[in-house]
């Protein structure tokens, strides 16, 4: 009679049930709050659903309708400008700040916390404060400019035609978002050995070469993660636009996310709103593909 085999050294379960059980809470949230809504949104975009009505299938007519709307074109261009300029500025400032914070100095921890603070400070409240800083009626910035004699009547930061309102929005986006670039780049910088870092940061042509050929490649994965998270976050910016300009003046700062919100909640038009929201999907797919190549491949 053969002896029973000893319990296997690695009690790897043959059935996937224990693993699935552990995965189920996470899957539940993903199915109910991501997969199902995504499916609903696809249906909305292909239907004439209104608030309270499931609607009927209308094919691509929401998209055709949108393609003829000037306001939609404005929103696309504005979202592009807002995101590209915002990300560019956050990346450059974030890189500079990471280098500035890389070496120890007195009070470094507090300075670092203050730089990171806007990222974790409730966006609604911070944006509310910016609204009163930018306000043209006794706004704090205009007050200072007028007190120093730099401007006679103050500047209409949020309500004028031209690039100024968008610049103000991007400023607040940078204020909020630069901290993410700083923390990820700094964490990456600090894992580079101090000698290598120092040799690349002194003056001279050779150190510049070292910087470009040694330091930057080491920072690339952290940079890619920060960029992808920041781009998708910037697309989703709602508080900043809603509170500062509400898309105005005359649609000059309307963005895709904010327009999808307005069309759904003001007009009750779920179909058009969903079609608007889906216009960000191509960028999303590119971001995911880029992420898979840069960050995840090891």
């Amino acid at each position: 009679m053969r002896r029973l085999p000893a319990a296997p050294q690695v009690p790897m379960s043959r059935t996937p049930w224990p693993a699935l059980l552990l995965l189920s809470p996470a899957f539940l949230f993903v199915i109910v709050f991501i997969a199902f809504p995504l499916g609903s949104e696809v249906w909305f975009s292909l239907s004439n659903a209104q608030i309270g009505e499931i609607g009927t299938f209308v094919g691509l007519s929401n998209f055709v309708y949108l393609a003829r709307q000037g306001t939609y074109h404005d929103a696309l261009v504005n979202t592009f400008v807002y995101t590209v300029v915002g990300i560019g500025a956050k990346a450059i400032l974030g890189m500079a700040l990471a280098f500035a914070l890389a070496r120890p100095f007195r009070g470094r921890r507090v300075v670092y916390a203050l730089i990171f603070l806007p990222f974790i400070f409730p966006t609604v409240t911070g944006t509310m404060a910016w609204y009163y800083l930018f306000s043209n009626v006794h706004g704090a910035i205009n007050y200072a400019l007028m007190a120093w004699g730099l401007s006679r009547d103050g500047i209409d930061w949020l309500g004028s035609f031209g690039p100024l309102p968008m610049t103000s929005l991007i400023t607040v986006n940078i204020w909020h978002g630069v901290g993410l670039f700083v923390v990820l780049l700094l964490a990456s910088l600090r894992s580079i050995s101090p000698e290598v870092l120092d040799s690349a940061l002194v003056d001279g042509a050779r150190s510049r070469q070292r910087f470009v050929h040694i330091i930057l490649p080491l920072l690339k994965p952290a940079f890619a993660l920060a960029a992808v998270l920041s781009i998708m976050g910037t697309f989703g910016d709602f508080a900043i636009i809603h509170i500062l300009t509400n898309g105005g003046p005359a649609n000059h700062t309307q963005t895709i996310t904010h327009m999808a919100f307005l069309v759904a909640l003001r007009d009750g038009d779920l179909g058009t709103s969903a079609a608007i929201a889906f216009s960000l999907m191509p960028v999303y797919l590119i971001a995911v593909a880029y992420m898979l190549r840069t960050v995840v491949s090891e």
Binding site: L23, L97, Y132, H138, W175, A187, T257, S273
Partner: protein, 271 residues
């Protein structure tokens, strides 16, 4: 060389001023006596200093409720997210499922979905279920914004730990959840802290969901309260005192852990 260091110091100083400018302004406004602070006086200095808005808040039941709601929503979101993400990441790292990697990556990809695509169907769904207008709507929605990325972060972190740890625990006959509790979790504090902070950041930075899901004043978090009532233009002091007292300390405390946050989130990308 000295000029160069001075240059960096000036740059850092300017960026710190930029970062705290709106917070400083809120603090000043919350410390001004009387009303009409938004149209009168120096916006940069509290000429007639007072703590009356703060003492008024402390005796107001509304403030207590708003802070309690905020704490409940943030705390519950963090706990649900941490538990669900940890279990899922552990399942993906410990059991060699055929598609562990694919599942982890899909979770990450689902986190990146544009917010504009999901908020509307979620609002429609929760309205049908009669869940809107209670903190419950937020408590069930927010974890779905944290868990996918949280699972990916923890999964990456678990995978980076030496595999002998798991092999040894298995060889000693430890059961899976014992391995998680006694071997993995004690080593994973930085990653768990990062996911917790990430949950706080998600709740604090959201406006789209609070705005679409909650309009009942009794269920409002501080973010929803400030956002929907905006500011009483005649009497803004209490609102800014509410922000300074209700969320600023928590935000600053979280900010002190910026390094932990970065190392946890960046596990896969920071060597």
């Amino acid at each position: 060389m000295n000029a160069r260091r001075l240059g960096w110091a000036v740059f850092l100083g300017a960026m710190v001023v930029f970062a705290i400018l709106p917070l400083y302004w809120m603090l000043v406004t919350s410390l001004k006596a009387g009303k009409q602070q938004l149209v009168l006086g120096n916006p940069w200095w509290p000429e007639n200093f007072t703590l009356e808005h703060y003492s008024g808040l402390l005796s107001s039941p509304d403030f207590g409720r708003v802070v309690l709601n905020t704490a409940v929503v943030t705390g519950t979101t963090a706990i649900i997210s941490l538990v669900a993400s940890t279990l899922a990441a552990f399942a993906l790292a410990y059991y060699r499922l055929p598609h562990s990697r694919g599942i982890a990556l899909s979770l990450f990809a689902s986190y990146l979905l544009p917010a504009g695509v999901l908020f509307l169907p979620i609002a429609v769904m929760l309205t049908r279920l009669h869940l809107t207008n209670s903190v419950l709507a937020l408590v069930v929605t927010y974890p779905s914004l944290v868990i996918p990325f949280g699972t990916w972060v923890l999964w990456t972190f678990f995978n980076r730990l030496p595999s002998e740890l798991l092999d040894q625990a298995r060889a000693e006959g430890a059961r899976p959840l014992q391995v998680l509790r006694h071997v993995l979790l004690p080593l994973s504090m930085p990653a768990l802290a990062a996911v917790g902070l990430f949950a706080v950041a998600v709740v604090f930075n959201d406006y789209l969901y609070t705005f679409t899901l909650v309009s009942d004043p009794h269920s409002m978090t501080l973010m929803a309260d400030v956002g929907s009532n905006l500011v009483d233009i005649d009497d803004p002091g209490p609102t800014f005192a509410e922000i300074m007292l209700g969320v600023a300390p928590v935000a600053f405390l979280c900010a002190l852990f910026a390094d932990t946050y970065a190392r946890g989130l960046g596990t896969g990308v920071v060597r």
